[in-house]
Symmetry: C2
Subunit: 254 residues, 2 copies
């Protein structure tokens, strides 16, 4: 059995603990968290420690803390002989350079405390400081997901950047849509099937092909009428995104 | 049997024809299209005409053409005694004022030629020029969907505006994400589970609660690093949306 220790107790750590329960050759032996407020999200059988120096020895240390805390955690693990992995999309592997064996295990997914993640379908971007550790990492990752990719720090940074657009910014569009609903006493339920279909479409056709709406149609009248209904912030966003859409589709269409 | 004629052969019309096939009391008797290139999407049993003046008499006329063509079609139907409905979110009902009995049947959904729509779950926003016709319209709509709403032109305009954010703009975020993937030889497949989860989340929690990412965390370092990787257009969008997110969450969080 390959022993895994987890550092962190946030959304990513919670779901990693669940993923580890389903692996065959890997076992979560302990997790580190300064507080115990999320303990109920973790399997009862796994002990917690709030002192990182008393963390048991493990074959793999998984750092699942906020980006800004990775460096500090890394410095506290520099004497460990196991493979130390961070799970961040935007932080280069080199942040772990002070540790002999290190790498990255980045799940391309968004995590909430509640709800379940389909780990088997979640892409994992992997990087390791040696070929031998890449082998261990790949074995570990493939017990969690059917979709593992070897991606270096530079390209992972780009992947994370694209994920900001795909997830953070699209979700913010839902927030802005809901705000317009709220202002006009329209039930956000009205938009849910549309939101579902928006994401369902790009599973089978490209987002370019899926694009519809007044900006794509260059429907100047609707664009003008719609901007007139918006507040300053909404209008700025509406105008910039409509221009971006119009420009993209100008050349390809009649 | 209540007779329905359909004007248009685009994406909305194609799916309306399919919806009508499943109704009990309504029957699609004919559809009007200037061309016959989409005929294979319609049930073979339903005759097409390319001359709107020779359209058969019907109890309901459903106008499913592009916004800009609605007025012209309306003028060609002004002598009809049936109920004339348009299907647009942004066009007021008054565009049909020259027709005695008129109303609006707006499905809050995005339609592609291919694929199927779950009409039972698709919200329908309804408006009619008389209480009597609202009754007929409600009866018609409730055979198509389980979610019918009476919404006047002014609020429907707001609903359509919010749908532009929820669908057109979020889809454009997927396009921008894919462009970053393409530029860096990253497979867009890497983002698909994330996109699915993004929309799945807002089915059960609000988009505000679902928001994650560097702008929400006020992670200035990541924001700065990410803008440095973008071209001028991408950077403008990234900065404006990050500011919008940061501003929204500033007050509510520690």
């Amino acid at each position: 059995m390959i022993r895994v220790a987890l550092i962190g107790a946030g959304n990513v750590a919670i779901h990693l603990a669940k993923a580890l329960e389903k692996t065959v050759s890997f076992k979560l032996v302990q997790y580190f968290s300064r507080h115990d407020k999320n303990n109920h999200y973790f399997p009862e059988s796994v002990p917690q420690t709030s002192d990182i120096d008393s963390l048991v020895e493990a074959d793999i240390y998984l750092i699942a803390v906020t980006d800004r805390a990775i460096q500090k955690v890394a410095s506290q693990l520099s004497n460990r002989s196991g493979l130390v992995l961070h799970t961040s999309g935007s932080i280069p592997m080199s942040v772990l350079n002070s540790i002999k064996r290190h790498g990255v295990f980045y799940p391309v997914q968004t995590f909430s405390k509640e709800g379940t993640i389909d780990w088997k379908k979640t892409p994992l971007a992997l990087e390791a400081s040696s070929a031998q550790d890449m082998e261990l990492l790949r074995r570990f990752a493939s017990e969690i997901s059917d979709h593992t990719y070897e991606i270096d720090s530079e390209r992972r940074k780009k992947l994370h950047l694209s994920a900001v657009f795909a997830n953070n910014f699209s979700n913010h569009m839902f927030t802005l849509a809901k705000a317009i609903c709220d202002e006009n006493e329209l039930d956000f339920e009205l938009l849910k099937p549309l939101i579902q279909e928006t994401s369902a479409k790009v599973m089978s056709i490209s987002p370019e092909q899926a694009q519809t709406g007044p900006a794509r149609r260059h429907d100047v009248e609707v664009l003008k009428e719609q901007t007139s209904q918006l507040n300053v912030e909404q209008e700025k966003i509406y105008t910039l995104l409509s221009e971006s859409i119009s420009k993209r589709y100008r050349r390809n269409e009649s």
